[in-house]
Amino acid sequence: MPTTYEPIATTTLGSAASSITFSSIPATYTDLRIVFVGNCVSASRYLALTFNADLLTNYSMTYLAGDGTSAVSSRRTNDTVLYSNNYSGSSITIPQMITADVFSYAGATNKTTLFTTASDKNGSGTTDVAVGLWRSTSAITSIALTYVATANIAAGSIATLYGIKNA
């Protein structure tokens, strides 16, 4: 088989921005992976995804997080964006890394995403795993990254979209 795991697009912010968007995503892969390293300009914000500019209440997620003291779990339903995590959130000064694996993104079923968030803040912070659902059978052609509650993504943040083929 040919090798897979191809970079599709990458964005490095030279200045703070409200979002990072990957558009015109080709349908030629099986799964997608987003790798994000960066900050928010405000603390305690959560990186979220929007598929195909859908801002209706079609998103939900369940997460498990550890904060150095306790393990916690909860969920969100009927959201207008897909939260990657929902516990302690961002730091202004310490970058966090978030990966999002979107499975069968071009298929005709609802879309599942697996998130990993590494947000250690040197004495605080969290590690999170979450599963998200976008209730749409449309193929994903665009993904926008934003921080909620609304705040800019900090300058220097990097997001890369990779495509993975299963054959």
Binding site: E6, T10, V35, G66, I94, P95, M97, D120
Partner: protein
């Protein structure tokens, strides 16, 4: 774009070793992925040891937050530490089921960026036993290396001063984002 995910270096042990080091890591990639399958020569009563990583020979720039669960408790638990090496999951110990090795992946993005380095670890270690304290941990680790230098080396040892046994394997991959 060309596909990425290139093997930089590997080490499959043919005899016990106190440490495994990847040095002279090239700066030509965007992210690093380190995959390990490890077992230790710890005493029969010891089921696991933590894998400790010294990045660029530092020992106090690491911090981490861990989410884990094992058979010592029915609930998941969390702990953290600062001013330390970075902990990269666990390795099966001498007291665990024979011929069984743990499975660890470290994802280290933007390892040459002039900023502190966040990274994630996924670690699984299963032991076919039901007694309290005899089983895994499964763990998700959020790691931070508080240093703005590019990462050029990763040296791994074990808690308790044990050795990695023969058959333990370590693979370092580089990923380019363009």
């Amino acid at each position: 774009m060309p596909s990425t995910y290139t093997l930089i270096s590997s080490n499959v042990l043919t005899s016990s070793a106190a440490s495994v080091t990847f040095s002279a890591i090239p700066s030509t990639y965007t992210d690093l992925v380190l995959r390990m399958s490890a077992r230790t020569d710890s005493a029969p009563g010891n089921n696991a040891s933590y894998i400790l990583a010294s990045i660029n020979s530092t020992t106090t720039s690491g911090s981490f937050t861990v989410l884990s669960m094992n058979s010592a408790s029915t609930a998941a638990f969390s702990f953290n530490a600062t001013a330390n090496t970075n902990w990269l999951g666990a390795a099966n110990g001498g007291g665990s089921t024979a011929n069984t090795f743990s499975n660890v992946e470290l994802y280290l993005p933007s390892y040459t960026a002039s900023q502190n380095k966040p990274m994630s670890v996924s670690s699984v270690f299963e032991n076919n036993a039901t007694a309290i304290g005899s089983g895994g941990p499964w763990g998700a680790f959020a790691e931070l290396w508080s240093n703005t230098a590019a990462i050029t080396s990763i040296a791994m040892t074990l808690s308790g001063g044990y050795n990695f046994v023969s058959g333990s394997s370590f693979y370092l991959y580089g990923i380019k984002n363009s």
